[in-house]
């Protein structure tokens, strides 16, 4: 039942692939790319669901990717995909001498200081590790792929890139602003772990723990897996990795702060989604903001930097090598003895590690009540500080219910998590967790969100089936309701994942003015030059929550992708609300909220909402599809409201296509950021027609409405194919 597609997919033909495993199909792009683009998404969706009704979300996602012709640069990461990538790495490592030679090439190429001042033309960019590759077609080249590359470290990007950046430090943690005394919360001073040579059972050092938090200190919630049922870290390896890495990130923080200035902010490029210029690891940046700025001045910072510089040998790989051999942390103790300033800074760092911070069995009645209080307030304890995930075995970590809950709480509620290396794997380079582990964790909230929507909104499975299809196991079955409630209490994942491999379904509303429909002819950047004319506040953040927004009597089928409402009366301005969501379940949820609160919007912008449409642009189409088709619908309205998560207005090319289409129709147009509480409803005034930097006309087609031929696509379209197929909906006698 859960993974079954609707009967409209029955006619979709995938016989040629039926007997091929996803592990084989993923290598067979030639076969996957056969057939027309209009049916590619339907075929991929059908293949993805062929593993059985109760297939795991990871398996569906992997099968989907295997059947996707245009995978983009950053497709969905799933556990089977990670296994596949790891196998590939293993094959390569068999000839490590040759691999070493190959991996050196990138660093042996010539490097520019900056882009030439007279460089023009169209560019694209790729970010690989810590490098940005700016690429353009070589002038006068004949062959495809004959490109000219300019490679820069993100730490020293070209000046043009630095001009479009903004200050963006890591946030202050909760405890800098509020003093918290959460029941059952005990924080372990890192210096205590170093002195003790490891993490002790909570009852052994309870009197040395801190219950009440203080400003100017750094609280780090450690999410980790237990190595054995009775002890999380019998050999003390986790303690060594935690302490050494925190020390190394502190050294990184000190060195970066010295270069940038104690109060010098990190520069961030919103369009790239990366920090540029001199910056440390996110954890180091968090330490600058939460520790260094409270504890140091410029003079002491200089002395601290000299201390940190002396430790370069140990900390260049974030302390990974030395941690392996520092059996009772004697080396770290000895190192810190000679570093008075860094030692004082270390004393400002506290961790929460369950074994050392919650009473362990056997427990007295008093200890048991402390334990239960901590369990009850676990999420609160976690979001008081910053979460670091100690990653030793990603696959196993993500199969544990509690670990997964902690990782998505960090990502969804706090928006940040740091990854610490949790074991000395062969694949670890420079102290960083492997890229595919990182990507896997990044995509976890998207899979969980769809699983929750399937259970709560579409009601196609039970909570137990939900956890099972997420591959989550618990030692104590009594924990299932607690973990499930934790997952449901989360809202839409904060981060959006953009890639060509997204599948777009629902209704693409085509703005119409008179007898002309408008559609962007290519996805481009957002309309940066359209300045907000009016900024209003409409707190509809509730739209992003399942628990506040979906009741037992609600039915997804009553909220289709095209929802015509009442016509505007005489003297009233008609309004169309276009929702862009990350999946169909989310689109239904958001549409339900909007539909139930139209008077709030209508009175604020003085209109009558005549219709609502939703469009899902889904990086992880593993959940239930209530619609499962894509079609264009011409819409004529005096006012448009485009509603989406804030990040979509900056980075999502599907949203950008709609933005450009609406702007070209010259109607009054609002953008509503659903995840912000205030100043989130911005009226935009479209600019006059202009030429782009490349000399092209505006990239919007104006089409004669009478000649439009609109086709529905079962299974939707891959984002990569969206524009050319939507444009092909229209009669090509359209005029510019």
């Amino acid at each position: 039942m859960a993974a079954r597609l609707s009967p409209i997919f029955n006619a979709v033909e995938i016989d040629a692939w039926a007997s091929i495993s996803p592990e084989r199909l993923i290598l067979n792009l030639g076969l996957v790319a056969e057939g027309n683009a209009g049916t590619a998404a339907a075929r991929a969706l059908k293949y993805s669901r062929a593993a059985g009704d109760l297939a795991s979300y990871d398996d569906i996602g992997f099968r989907l990717l295997a059947a996707t012709p245009n995978r983009g640069l950053v497709p969905l990461s799933t556990v089977p995909m990670m296994r596949h990538t790891r196998n590939v790495d293993d094959v390569r490592r068999k000839n490590s001498a040759v691999e070493k030679i190959v991996s050196q090439q990138e660093f042996l190429r010539h490097r520019p200081i900056d882009l030439p001042e007279d460089l023009d033309g169209r560019f694209r960019y790729e970010i690989k590790g810590k490098l940005i590759h700016i690429i353009r077609r070589r002038p006068g080249s004949k062959g495809s792929g004959d490109d000219e590359e300019w490679v820069f470290p993100l730490a020293s990007p070209p000046q043009r890139l630095l001009q479009i950046t903004e200050d963006r430090d890591e946030p202050l943690i909760f405890t800098q602003v509020y003093q918290a005394n959460v029941p059952g919360a005990f924080w372990i001073p890192v210096s205590l772990v170093v002195e003790s040579g490891g993490i002790r059972r909570m009852q052994e050092w309870r009197e040395k723990l801190q219950g009440r938090t203080e400003p100017g200190k750094f609280y780090c919630f450690i999410s980790h897996r237990w190595q054995t049922p009775s002890h999380p870290d019998p050999e003390g390896l986790q303690a060594r990795f935690i302490t050494w890495q925190l020390f190394a990130h502190l050294c990184d923080a000190v060195r970066v702060a010295r270069v940038r200035g104690l109060n010098g902010a990190r520069r961030f490029s919103p369009s790239l989604g990366f920090a540029v210029g001199r910056s440390g690891s996110p954890l180091a940046e968090a330490l600058i903001v939460n520790v260094l700025r409270f504890a140091l001045d410029d003079e002491v910072l200089g002395a601290a930097e000299r201390e940190a510089r002396g430790c370069e040998e140990f900390v260049r790989d974030y302390g990974i090598k030395v941690a392996r051999q520092d059996f009772d942390l004697a080396r770290l103790r000895e190192t810190l003895q000679g570093l008075p300033i860094l030692s004082q800074l270390m004393q400002r760092i506290f961790i929460w590690y369950d074994y050392g911070a919650m009473p362990q069995p056997p427990r007295t009645p008093e200890e048991d009540s402390v334990f239960r209080a901590a369990l009850e307030h676990l999420t609160a304890i976690q979001i008081m500080g910053r979460t670091a995930i100690l990653l030793d075995e990603a696959e196993d970590y993500l199969s544990r219910g509690w670990c997964t809950l902690e990782s998505v709480v960090a990502d969804t509620l706090a928006g940040v998590e740091d990854l610490l290396v949790g074991s000395a794997r062969q694949t670890i380079e420079s102290g960083s967790v492997e890229h595919y582990f990182d990507m896997l964790l990044e995509d976890r909230p998207h899979l969980i969100w769809r699983a929750v929507l399937d259970t709560e909104v579409f009601r196609v499975q039970t909570p137990e089936e939900c956890l099972s299809r997420l591959g989550l196991a618990v030692t104590d079955p009594g924990d299932i309701p607690f973990i499930y409630r934790g997952l449901v209490s989360l809202n839409i994942p904060r981060k959006i994942h953009i890639d060509d491999s997204e599948i777009v379904t629902g209704v693409f509303p085509l703005p119409v003015a008179g007898r002309t429909a408008f559609i962007a002819s290519r996805a481009g950047r957002t309309l940066d030059d359209i300045k907000p004319r009016e900024v209003l506040s409409l707190d509809w953040t509730g739209a992003c929550w399942v628990r506040d927004n979906w009741g037992p009597s609600d039915k997804a089928e009553t909220l289709p992708a095209w929802l015509p409402l009442q016509q505007a009366g005489p003297g009233e301005r008609s309004c169309h609300v276009a929702v862009v969501a990350s999946c169909e379940g989310e689109a239904v949820l958001v549409t339900k909220w909007i539909h139930g609160r139209l008077p709030e919007l209508e009175s604020l912008i003085k209109t009558r909402v005549a219709s609502i449409s939703w469009l899902a642009t889904d990086i992880a189409p593993v959940g239930h599809l209530v619609d499962g088709t894509l079609r264009g619908v011409p819409v004529e309205a005096d006012v448009w409201v485009l509603a989406a998560q804030g990040g979509r207005f900056v980075n999502c090319s599907t949203t950008s296509t709609l933005q450009q289409s609406i702007a070209a129709s010259k109607v009054t147009y609002f953008e509503l950021s659903l995840d912000s509480e205030k100043d989130n409803l911005c009226q935009r005034t479209p600019p006059p027609a202009r030429k782009s930097a490349t000399g092209d006309e505006d990239s919007v087609l104006a089409l004669d409405l009478d000649r439009l031929k609109l086709t529905g696509y079962v299974g939707g379209l891959f984002r990569h194919d969206l524009l050319k197929n939507l444009i092909s909906l229209a009669d090509d006698r359209g005029k510019r």
Binding site: L27, A33, P69, N87, I101, H110, S141, E148, V259
Partner: protein, 242 residues
């Protein structure tokens, strides 16, 4: 199995009639499939499926025999070059060198500068790997030190990077045929520029440019010409400001 799946439609009898292999429609059909097949072969190479990649690539190279035009001119060096990479990964260094040289020659013929860069680099990797048994320690050591210096520079430790580079400069200047002299001078120039010593930046970048010019290293000439222009303009601006 894979080759049949992917190419079966090209050779097997089609429904109704059996057109000639030189039928233009059929050729067009083949041409349209070469791109995706090349992409498949690329994925196979990336994933360790070297034997299957070789089969695919030999298949499309056979099909390209006797077909001409811009698409073939564009795709053939890519297929040949990828075949060289697949053979290299299989450990067949002789065929790897032969196919890579063939791809390089074709790129030179059509003026594909990126292809020239890639296959030149690949020939260098093949040569180094061939010498692994003899272990040319000094070359490997110099490469490792340059990589270390580049990473330090990328992280913003320009002075430490320069220390590493200066440590190997003597060895490099003694060996007349060494490949990496341009890179070392160029990186020294970049580091000195970042450290605001434009005089040294200019001196080392000029050396880099001269070295790349003498070695016909077009990438080096392109990059260091730009760097030199930026350094010189920066110096002029600085002197005007003072």
């Amino acid at each position: 199995m894979r080759v049949r799946e992917l190419l079966g439609g090209l050779f097997g009898a089609s429904k109704g009639s059996s057109p000639s292999p030189n039928d233009p429609t059929r050729i067009l059909y083949r041409v349209q499939r070469w791109g995706p097949i090349l992409a498949s072969a690329n994925q196979l190479v990336d994933s360790g499926g070297y034997d299957e990649a070789v089969q695919l690539l030999e298949g499309i190279l056979n099909e390209m025999e006797g077909v001409s035009g811009p698409i073939v001119e564009d795709l053939r060096p890519k297929a040949t070059g990828l075949l060289g990479i697949a053979q290299f990964r299989k450990g067949n260094l002789g065929p790897a060198r032969r196919f890579t040289e063939e791809a390089l020659a074709e790129c030179r013929k059509i003026g594909d500068a990126e292809g020239i860069r890639i296959y030149t680099e690949h020939l260098e990797i093949i040569a180094l790997s061939s010498g692994l048994a003899a272990a040319d320690e000094s070359v490997m050591e110099i490469r490792a030190r340059i990589v270390e210096a580049q990473k330090l520079s990328d992280e913003g430790w320009h002075d430490t990077s320069n220390e590493v580079l200066m440590g190997i400069l003597g060895t490099v200047e003694e060996e007349a045929d060494l490949e990496y002299r341009g890179k070392i001078y160029g990186l020294l120039g970049l580091n000195w520029f970042r450290l605001s010593d434009t005089e040294k930046a200019q001196r080392y970048t000029e050396l880099a440019l001269a070295e790349c010019t003498s070695k016909s290293d077009e990438e080096g000439v392109r990059i260091y010409s730009v760097n030199l222009g930026l350094i010189r303009r920066g110096r002029v601006r600085n002197s005007e400001a003072t």
